[in-house]
Amino acid sequence: MNMIFHNKKISGILCVVPQKESLFDDEIGNYNFPPEKSLRLKKIMGYDRHRIADQGACISDYCVFGIEYLLRQGSLKKDDIDALILVTQTSDYLLPPTSNIIQGRLGLGEDVLCMDINQGCAGYIVGLMQAFLLLEQKNINKVVLLNAEFLSKRTSPKDRNSYPIIGDAAAITIVERDCLENVIHANIKMDGSQGNALIIPAGGLRMPATAETAIMEDSGDGNLRSKDHLFMDGTSVFNFVQTKVPALIEDLLVTSGTAKEEIDYYLFHQPNRFMLEKLADQLGVPYAKMPSNIVERFGNSSGATIPVNAVYNLGDRLKETSFNVCFCGFGTGLNWGAMMMKLGQLQIAEIIEY
């Protein structure tokens, strides 16, 4: 689905990450593999350190903490918020929506539209699309997009496929109308027939969580996980990404009339370093234009990875100048989406710790 948006912009990004940093070197003993083999994968995959939220913490805590920081700091005024969009797969409760919980804790007005969207690694693209669509309404001038994920709580610490790359984070993106013409091109595709490639089997109505679903077992790949945990079919996901994502980007470049070289930064979702470098090779993009360092410094925080990537790698430059960027998210669904836009002149571009 190709989409074009006009006169919309991102005016600020704040990321909230846990203070607690967990090191791969300290976790190697948890995995059912020879340590020397895991260490060899460390550099290739970008296993190094990741941020893990404390037990008991929920994504609403991080979102409220971040929005209150923006209110104090002056990048956001409470009365200016017209909508809260929360993209997550690790909500506080099955119901009510976590965006409502955030609205209530912040004391926002009844006219603030609250919306939870269940999306994962493509969640930044989906969230921005939804924000831009809402901004077509004349009563909606400013949308606060929240991408927050605590997947460490649903990932087995004995699963070397997934746990080393998982990181917890919340990202707050302020999205609003732009008086300047700013054409944004986007494309998103979805293939629900491959949903089982990235799944938490138990915990919903299809397979309620029970003592049985909590039993840890080796499903044949040497990793221990239960049905309550995230399962990733690494080979299928890798092949999906390498096949689908380059075609999506090439298509978006053509439809937007953009030359590959005109993009200053390809700010992609980051499942692991190897996958990113192979994508860059396939697209013919220099590694310097496609950062792959987030997974090794913070971990992959699903839909929050792209904003963490933008702020960590471009930092204060996002406040001083503008870049042509290509965002791209891919994963759960399986979904893959990309967006090309100008990003810069932000009021805030910061990462804070909770």
């Binding site: 083999k37 060899r40 994968l41 290739i44 995959m45 070397r160 790949d221 040497g222 690494g234 080979t235 890798f238 092949n239 990404v241 390498q242 096949t243 190897f274 996958m275 192979k278 994508l279 090779d281 396939q282």
Partner: protein, 76 residues
């Protein structure tokens, strides 16, 4: 072929790659072994194997790996 067997033995030293037949079906190489193998082949031969070629069919035996390397201009 010797070079490829040496690289494979570095990744899975417990196997005799002169004897093994189908590395994938026999469970000798898992997906992470393939990642290590591709990285080692890229470095050793100065090539960049594209992600679309990192599929089981290209890693079933030493002959298929050799064909892959040759396709990228890597020389034995």
């Amino acid at each position: 072929m010797e070079e490829i067997i040496k690289i494979l033995s570095g990744i899975r030293p417990e196997y005799d790659f002169y004897q093994e037949s189908n590395f994938i079906e026999d469970g000798i190489l898992d997906s992470f072994d393939m990642v290590m193998l591709v990285t080692a082949l890229d470095e050793h031969y100065g090539i960049k194997i594209l992600g679309t070629d990192i599929i089981p069919e290209n890693f079933t035996d030493t002959a298929s790996i050799k064909r892959l390397v040759e396709r990228y201009g890597g020389m034995e």
